[in-house]
């Protein structure tokens, strides 16, 4: 039986995907619901649309941190 689910398709590079998966694991370890619904391939995830806003904020914070760190080295 064909299954159809509503969600958000996230396309990103593998490095960002790793960060997203780490965030998902942390949520699970904290006893919260996972937001990754399906791991599609190395650059695509299917995620819970309710968590998109939260995820974008967390990613912005993390990526910004990394940019600063990069600047420090350079």
């Amino acid at each position: 039986m064909v299954k159809a689910r509503k969600g958000t398709l996230l396309e990103c590079d593998p490095a960002v995907k790793q960060i997203v998966q780490d965030l998902d694991n942390k949520k699970s370890e904290a006893g919260e619901k996972r937001f990754i619904l399906e791991d599609l391939d190395e650059t695509h995830l299917f995620i819970d649309p309710c968590e998109v806003e939260w995820l974008q904020k967390r990613l912005d914070e993390i990526l910004e941190e990394n940019t600063y760190r990069f600047d420090d080295v350079a």
Partner: protein, 82 residues
């Protein structure tokens, strides 16, 4: 400063989000292929993987795919009845 902005932009562009419907668990590869062949010219396919028989359809395309599937199912039922 321009380099910094460019770097920041690059980071921001590292992800793309789209509202979608994920179709999976096709028992029939033909059915999967038919939907892909129907939806792709409409620009409704965001992602697909034939091996996994899974495809992501745009929110706009979902209604089209839904009625296409209904028509296909009716045609199959009609064919079997004959």
């Amino acid at each position: 400063v321009i380099d910094q902005i460019r770097l920041w932009e690059m980071e921001r562009n590292r992800l793309r989000l789209s509202g979608a419907w994920l179709y999976s668990d096709f028992t029939d590869l033909n059915e999967f292929t038919q939907i892909v062949n129907y939806a792709e010219p409409l620009g409704a396919v965001l992602w697909k993987n034939e091996k996994r028989r899974t495809l992501a359809v745009t929110e706009e395309g979902h209604e089209n795919v839904k009625s296409f599937r209904k028509r296909a199912a009716a045609a199959r039922a009609g064919g079997a009845g004959r």
